[in-house]
C-alpha cells in the first residue's frame, strides 16, 4: 500500500522543524483525542477528533458506567436490577469501549507519525492532496466497517453473551427480575462432570454425537464418491440425466425432505412400515419409539440428504484429473485399484479437503434433522436429553424447554471448543490457509 503515497517533500532549507517533539504530540493525544493533531497544526483533523471523542463521552458515558458496573455485580437489588439485561449492557459496553479504544490508539499513532515527519522536515501537501491520500488510506476501513459492525453485534456479541452465561447460575428457578443471577465460576462444568444426572446424559449424548458425525458424514462422502466414480465410467451413457436425478435430494429444501421422512417413518401411518417392511415379510419396526431404530433411520436419511452435494463436487473434480496420469499408469501396468488408490483418491481428497471438513463439522451440529425428524426423541425417563439428541439439540431443549440457560450455555461452550480446535488444526494444514499471502 505504501507505493501509492507521494514521495516525501522536503522544504527548501531541508532542515525540518527540530523543535517539534513527537513525545509532546503523543502525550497530548493521550490526554484527549485530537490535541496531538492540533499541536501538529493539523487543525481540521484535530477538531474533528476532538468533537468525535467529546460526543462519544457525552452520549455513552452513563451507558458505559451502568454496563461495566452491571457486568461486575450483575445487580445488587432483586426486582430493581435485572441481571440478564445488566449482563447484556455490560457486554455491549465492553464492545463499545474496545471499538473506541481502537480508534483512540489509531489517533495516538497518527499524531506520533505526523509529528515525527514534521520534525524531519516534511512539508504538508496542499489540502486537496491530503484529503485524497486520507481517503486512500482509510479506504479499506470504509469497506470493512459496515461488515465488521454487523458482525460484532450479530455474531460476536451473542457468542460473548453465551460464553458468559456459562459462568452464571441463570435458570428457571433463578431468573430475574424475581431473583438476581450471580457469577459462579466453573460450577456448571463441575456439575456436568460430577453430578450423576448430568454426566450420564452428557456422556450418552456426546458419544452418540460422535458416532452420528463420523458414521453419517463418512457414509455420505463414501456414497457420493462411489456414485461419482460409477457415473464417471466411460461406458455409462445418459450421464447428464443420471446426474440430474442423483442431485435431486440436494435441490429439495432440507426441512421439506426431513418432514416427509418423518411421516414416511411414522410407526403407524408411515409408508415404510405399511409398505416397504411388509414386502420383506416384516411386521413393522418402531422407527420413532425405539432409540436404536431412530438412530438407524437418522443416519439413513442424512446419507440421502447429504450425498448429492458430494456427488456433484466429486464429479467436478474427477473431470479435472488429467488423462495423462492414467495413461502413464496403464503403461506401467497399474491395476484399477492401484489407479484409484494412488491417482484418483489423493487428487480428489486434496482438492476437496476443506469442504469435507465442513461436512463433518456441520453434521456435528446438524440440528435440523435431529429436531425435525423426531424432536431428539424418543424421550428417556429421568433425563432432559432424548434418546437421539445430539449436543446441539440438547442445548436447544435445555434452553427453550427446561429454561436451564446456564447449563445450556456451558454445553454449547464445550461444543464450540471442540469444533473450533478440530477445524482450526485441519484448516491450518490445508492448502488454502498456508497460501494466504503476507504483505
Amino acid at each position: 500500500m505504501h507505493q501509492e503515497r507521494l514521495p516525501q517533500q522536503f522544504d527548501r532549507a531541508g532542515s525540518g522543524r527540530p523543535g517539534h517533539r513527537p513525545a509532546a504530540a503523543i502525550l497530548l493525544s493521550v490526554l484527549f483525542a485530537g490535541l496531538g493533531q492540533l499541536y501538529n497544526r493539523s487543525y481540521l483533523k484535530g477538531l474533528l477528533f476532538l468533537v468525535i471523542q467529546a460526543s462519544f463521552l457525552v452520549v455513552f458515558f452513563d451507558f458505559l458506567q451502568l454496563g461495566l458496573w452491571g457486568l461486575y455485580t450483575l445487580g445488587t437489588v432483586p426486582k430493581r436490577d435485572h441481571s440478564v439485561f445488566l449482563l447484556v449492557y455490560g457486554i455491549l459496553a465492553v464492545l463499545l469501549l474496545a471499538i473506541a479504544l481502537l480508534f483512540y490508539a489509531l489517533n495516538i499513532r497518527d499524531a506520533r507519525n505526523e509529528a515525527v515527519k514534521l520534525r524531519n522536515g516534511w512539508v504538508r501537501p496542499p489540502m486537496s492532496e491530503r484529503l485524497r491520500s486520507a481517503y486512500r488510506q482509510s479506504f479499506p476501513y470504509l469497506l470493512t466497517v459496515p461488515g465488521f459492525l454487523l458482525l460484532i453485534f450479530v455474531v460476536v456479541f451473542p457468542l460473548l453473551f453465551a460464553v458468559s452465561l456459562a459462568f452464571t447460575n441463570y435458570n428457571l428457578y433463578n431468573s430475574p427480575p424475581r431473583t438476581l443471577v450471580d457469577w459462579v465460576g466453573f460450577d456448571n462444568f463441575t456439575q456436568l462432570a460430577t453430578m450423576p444426572i448430568w454426566n450420564r446424559s452428557f456422556v450418552g449424548v456426546f458419544s452418540w454425537t460422535l458416532v452420528w458425525t463420523l458414521v453419517s458424514t463418512t457414509l455420505q462422502i463414501g456414497l457420493g464418491l462411489l456414485l461419482a466414480l460409477l457415473v464417471n465410467d466411460s461406458r455409462i451413457r445418459f450421464k447428464k440425466l443420471i446426474r440430474t436425478i442423483l442431485i435431486l435430494p440436494w435441490a429439495v429444501p432440507n426441512f421439506v425432505s426431513i418432514m416427509i421422512f418423518a411421516a414416511l417413518f411414522n410407526d403407524q401411518f408411515g409408508a415404510v412400515n405399511r409398505t416397504i417392511v411388509r414386502w420383506f415379510g416384516g411386521s413393522g419396526l418402531p422407527w420413532l419409539t425405539d432409540p436404536f431404530y431412530t438412530k438407524i433411520a437418522l443416519i439413513a436419511i442424512q446419507t440421502w440428504l447429504g450425498f448429492p452435494f458430494l456427488f456433484a463436487l466429486f464429479t467436478g473434480v474427477l473431470q479435472s484429473i488429467s488423462k495423462d496420469w492414467f495413461e502413464a499408469a496403464d503403461v506401467d501396468g497399474g491395476t484399477r485399484w492401484q489407479k484409484f488408490r494412488h491417482i484418483t483418491l489423493p487428487h480428489v481428497l486434496f482438492a476437496t479437503a476443506p469442504l469435507l471438513i465442513i461436512q463433518y463439522t456441520s453434521n456435528f451440529n446438524n440440528f435440523n434433522i435431529i429436531y425435525l425428524f423426531n424432536g431428539g426423541g424418543p424421550a428417556v425417563r429421568g433425563q432432559t436429553a432424548g434418546g437421539t439428541d445430539i449436543l446441539i439439540s440438547w442445548v436447544y431443549k435445555l434452553t427453550f424447554t427446561n429454561n436451564n440457560y446456564s447449563m445450556a450455555a456451558a454445553i454449547s461452550l464445550i461444543i464450540g471448543l471442540i469444533v473450533m480446535t478440530f477445524a482450526f488444526f485441519q484448516f491450518r494444514r490445508s492448502r488454502s490457509f498456508r497460501e494466504e499471502r503476507n504483505y
Binding site: 479499506p140 458482525l151 435431486l248 435441490a251 411421516a263 414416511l264 427453550f400 473450533m420
Partner: protein, 280 residues
C-alpha cells in the same frame, strides 16, 4: 470375448446400482407428491397413488381465508431478496479489503472469521433474542434479515476473498496507472470479474432463508409474519396426522421452484465453490 462379457457384466452392475439409487431418491418425493393429491387429511387413509386425485389442498392454500400461505410466500421472498442483496454488498466490500489492502487487524480478522464460521448460530439464540428485543426488531422481518446478513459474513468473505486472490494484480496496477481510484477499480473492473462467486453468494443467501426454520421460529411469533418453513412446520406439528396432506401440497409448491433453480445452476455452483474453497 471373455473381456467383453466381463465388461458388459460390469456395466449392467453399475446400471443396477444407479437404478437402486434413483429409486431411493424418487420414492419419498413421489410419495409426498401423491399424498398432496389425496382428498381428506388423514395420513392413514392416504396412499401414494390416490384413487380419486383432487386439488382440494392446493385450493385451500390459496383460497381459504384461514390460510396464510400467500403471506408466508411473500414474507419469505422479502427476507430472501433483502438478505441476498445486502449480503453481496457487505461481503464483497469486506472481501475486497481483505484481498487487496493491508490494514490494521487484517490478519487477525481473517483468523477470527475462520473461527466464527465454526460456531453454530444455535449457541447464541438467547442472546440474539434479547438483542433484537433490545433494539425493537423482535418479531419483524427486518430483525431476521439483520441476523442473516451478519451471520453469513465470515464464511462468504473467505469465499469471495479466495476468488479475488486468483485475479491477477496486474489488472489492478493497469487500472491505477489509468488513474482510477480504489472504488472505481473495484466497481468497474473487479466486480464484473468476480460475478460467478458473487452469484453463488447471492444464491446461497437467497436459498438459506427459505430452508432455515430454527431462527425464524424463535424470532417471529405471529402467524402473518412467518416464513414458509415455520408456517409449514406448524401445519404438521400443531395437528399432526391431520394436516400432513396440506403440508405436502404447500411443501411441493416451494420445493418445485427451488429444485428447478438448483438443477439449473448446479454446475456453476459446484465449480465456484470448489474454486473459492480450495484455491483461497
Amino acid at each position: 470375448m471373455n473381456a467383453r462379457l466381463k465388461s458388459s457384466l460390469e456395466v449392467s452392475f453399475i446400471y443396477l446400482v444407479l437404478a437402486a439409487a434413483a429409486v431411493a431418491v424418487f420414492y419419498p418425493l413421489i410419495w409426498a407428491v401423491g399424498l398432496s393429491f389425496n382428498s381428506g387429511t388423514s395420513l392413514y387413509a392416504s396412499s401414494m397413488f390416490p384413487k380419486d386425485p383432487s386439488l382440494e389442498h392446493y385450493r385451500w392454500l390459496f383460497a381459504s381465508p384461514e390460510s396464510h400461505y400467500l403471506t408466508w410466500y411473500k414474507n419469505t421472498m422479502i427476507v430472501s431478496g433483502c438478505t441476498s442483496v445486502l449480503s453481496v454488498i457487505v461481503t464483497s466490500g469486506v472481501a475486497y479489503a481483505f484481498s487487496r489492502f493491508d490494514f490494521v487487524g487484517r490478519k487477525s480478522s481473517l483468523y477470527a472469521f475462520l473461527l466464527l464460521q465454526m460456531f453454530p448460530v444455535m449457541m447464541a439464540m438467547v442472546a440474539i433474542y434479547i438483542f433484537l428485543n433490545l433494539i425493537g426488531l423482535l418479531n419483524t422481518l427486518g430483525g431476521l434479515i439483520l441476523i442473516y446478513v451478519g451471520g453469513q459474513i465470515p464464511f462468504n468473505a473467505w469465499l469471495v476473498k479466495g476468488y479475488l486472490d486468483t485475479i491477477p494484480r496486474e489488472i489492478d496496477d493497469a487500472a491505477k496507472i489509468d488513474g482510477s481510484g480504489p472504488l472505481r477499480l473495484f466497481v468497474t473492473i473487479l466486480l464484473p470479474l468476480i460475478t460467478p462467486i458473487l452469484a453463488i453468494v447471492a444464491l446461497t443467501n437467497f436459498m438459506m432463508p427459505i430452508f432455515d426454520f430454527i431462527l425464524p421460529s424463535i424470532i417471529l411469533h405471529d402467524a402473518d409474519k412467518y416464513t414458509l418453513a415455520v408456517g409449514l412446520y406448524k401445519f404438521v406439528t400443531e395437528k399432526y396426522a391431520n394436516n400432513f396432506t396440506v403440508f405436502a401440497a404447500g411443501a411441493i409448491l416451494i420445493a418445485l421452484p427451488v429444485a428447478l433453480i438448483y438443477l439449473f445452476l448446479q454446475r456453476f455452483f459446484i465449480s465456484g465453490l470448489a474454486a473459492g474453497g480450495t484455491k483461497g
